[in-house]
Symmetry: C2
């Protein structure tokens, strides 16, 4: 079977575009409606998406507290939401974002293992270090930890979680009612981790799922982010405006993965794409203009302030003037660089910049006919820029429906996308191998 495009769907109930909630065909209360999230999950599953993906933050967005315009001010916590959606679906995976900085490995390992078990092996963990002082203020800190500290902790955290997930070998449970032996104690493994950040004895009290372990997902773009992703991620969510930068990133990550002894085919690179799709290009442009016209200026500025790292207030600058130099913070490195790059390349004013990033915070935005969108995805996929894409529909459900109804049939006709799920677990659908238990593997190696 030829390699095909993998697809994730970013479906926050409030929509992706900052003005999505004002769109005539988006429910204004979508962010906090469970029924709406259920509809989105079932729609994405009908569309044969590999996974439903949710970002997360550990603070109400700054704009939220003061301006009153943000629909992203409140919503569901991803792990509880996905647990609720899992029994209402059969095949689609669930990739939840969770923080290595503000969660303990034992707790996170348990919750993801539990979601993985509930869903029959459809869970993924998007590992984030949670940049922003706003989050730090909710966790006993006056300022956030330095960038390097967060990434060092993240690397150890993921290591501990993956060790904990292998506590029980897959055949550890005997459950022999006659003898009274429930499990084989030789197949239960304490973790005995003692590192710089964590001491975790284990074992975890949740067994493994049909896919072995949840899929590890990351989105680091900085040097430490790339190193972490190449070492541990199986899916990488990334952000590029151009084929050539996407190709450079793709080459870099695949060669880093190879350098640390991993199979590069088991590290899937999936850039974010926010598509405005029409039957014609003009129809797509009209959809773009419509939602752009709904942006509240103060929300647009607040969005840029957030992407810039929170240390500058662009409301103090002329919105029709150029983007001033951005201060370096201990927050995310990639986002300020990205908006700087977009502004410079397009010679955007502050207003033009927020209008552009309003769709998907700087992810690649395509405005075009279904054929044009399909062509672009095909070009990236066939030219070593992407193994798949994370689709960020600008508003919901319309933006998702458009993509499913107009773009997917073209990709399917070209043999580039599945017409039925290959398997029942997220790993099976992504073409990633079953995560063999390390202790089982070790035992097998010794015997052989």
């Amino acid at each position: 079977m030829t390699k095909q495009i993998k697809l994730g769907a970013f479906l926050p109930g409030g929509g992706q575009h900052i003005a999505a909630w004002r769109h005539p065909h988006q429910p204004a209360d979508g962010a906090t409606s469970f029924e709406f999230h259920k509809q989105l999950a079932q729609t994405a599953e009908r569309g044969l998406f590999d996974a439903y993906f949710l970002a997360d933050g550990l603070a109400a967005p700054a704009a939220g507290g003061t301006e009153g315009g943000s629909a992203k001010v409140a919503g569901f916590e991803p792990l509880t939401l996905f647990s609720a959606l899992a029994p209402l679906t059969k095949n689609i995976g669930f990739i939840a974002t969770a923080s290595t900085t503000y969660e303990e490995p034992y707790n996170l390992a348990r919750k993801f293992a539990s979601l993985d078990l509930i869903s029959g092996g459809r869970a993924g963990w998007n590992v984030v270090t949670t940049a922003t002082d706003a989050a730090a203020h909710n966790f006993n800190l006056d300022t956030q930890h330095p960038h390097e500290y967060r990434y060092q902790r993240a690397a150890e955290h993921v290591d501990v979680v993956k060790k904990l997930w292998d506590s029980f070998e897959d055949d550890a449970f005997v459950r022999d009612k006659t003898s009274g032996v429930f499990f084989d104690a030789a197949k239960v493994h304490a973790t005995h981790h003692r590192g710089k950040f964590f001491k975790v004895k284990g074992p975890l009290n949740v067994p493994r799922s049909p896919q072995g372990q949840p899929v590890i997902v990351q989105a680091g773009q900085s040097e430490s982010g790339r190193a972490l992703a190449a070492a541990t991620a199986e899916v990488i969510f990334t952000s590029h405006q151009h084929l050539h930068t996407a190709q450079a990133f793709y080459r870099d990550i695949k060669s880093r993965a190879k350098a640390v002894g991993r199979n590069p085919d088991h590290v899937l690179i999936m850039p974010g794409v926010a598509p405005f799709v029409g039957r014609t290009e003009e129809e797509a442009q009209e959809k773009y203009r419509q939602i752009t016209s709904l942006i509240v200026e103060s929300d647009g500025i607040a969005l840029l302030n957030g992407l810039a790292g929170g240390a500058i207030n662009l409301a103090e600058y002329d919105p029709d003037g150029p983007l001033p130099p951005l201060p370096v913070t201990e927050g995310m490195k990639s986002r300020p660089e990205l908006i700087r790059q977009i502004a410079d390349e397009n010679n955007f004013t502050i207003r033009e910049l927020y209008q552009w990033v309003a769709t998907a915070r700087g992810h690649f935005t395509i405005v075009g006919s279904a054929e044009q969108v399909a062509d672009t995805l095909q070009t990236w996929f066939e030219n070593d820029a992407a193994d798949g894409f994370n689709i960020l529909p600008p508003w919901l459900p319309g933006g998702l429906d458009d993509f499913i109804e107009l773009v997917l049939p073209i990709l399917q006709q070209r043999g580039l996308f599945r017409t039925a799920y290959e398997g029942r677990t997220l790993r099976e659908n992504l073409g990633l191998p079953f995560a063999e238990n390390r202790h089982t593997a070790l035992h097998r190696a010794k015997v052989a």
Copy 2:
């Protein structure tokens, strides 16, 4: 309407009795079967129980690691499990246990608020401090924090969580597409908590549910546990062997609640009851003998070791001899006292003791005909010993089915138990008031 008995159901998929998994009518893999938990939730809802209740621990039970007999060695994490069960049910509440010692308030507040929203206002939080060194070893500690430290932290933790739950007033969301105003910033409240254990700025990024806030549940029996419960709990899970001790506890908690300015009717006392129910007393006795015969001795000893606080190994004593003095630890205070009391009152050997506590770790065990069980519950309910009961069926689903089919119709005939749910939220069914937002209340008070 006359006051009626409230009922919680403790339904761990592996059954309550330590030998439950060996019972011919209990699925051996129940602890890790989502389908089985779904069946249990739907059965309890058909039985009109107020809530599905799950205990929790943050370590694989000690017996688990070494002996191989324990079916409780692994299972689901309660918050993810209950989130998955919520959309598959309509009325039953979900009371999840979670730890104030090993979770951050912002994370717990979010997860419970999210479950509360997903379930339409059916969530409850059983607040625990997680005694045991085994748990401490999974969270960077060599030994657990002292008992007093844990309770002080718990009191502040619950306070922070409840403040966070009131971040958004119920009418904060305007969602006016025309004006672009999504929420009223004057109705969003940062927490600004700075205490001994926590600094949490807030606001939380999850809104309130139809019941306002999740129901607070506690089970503290020690002096500090009772003080915490009287100050904050709305449901108290407790353990008594005798009517008179249950009455003394009931009086004590109600008067403590009154002393801190609370309405004692809004503090429901619900002792645990493990019923073996037969059509006749002899049939019940036979059910008790059957499951008792299935206990593996090493599991029984391990259970006692755990209840004793983990600092004594009773395997080194004659199982047919008396219970030796138990060391005082920094773990739970009430459990060692309880098994001491049961052993002394009944003049039990170690073997007789583990056989007795095997059913429900020392909770009140009733072996009798349906009439006898109903009579006992009625006596406790009508004589100020209980506002309701937490039912701990010894094995599943049979123990739950027996109670629903044989005991509940008698209580219903006597007018002591509902014949239909009173409401859709957990608070409505428990007869607890809607949790009014503190900021709304303050504003109302100022205006009045």
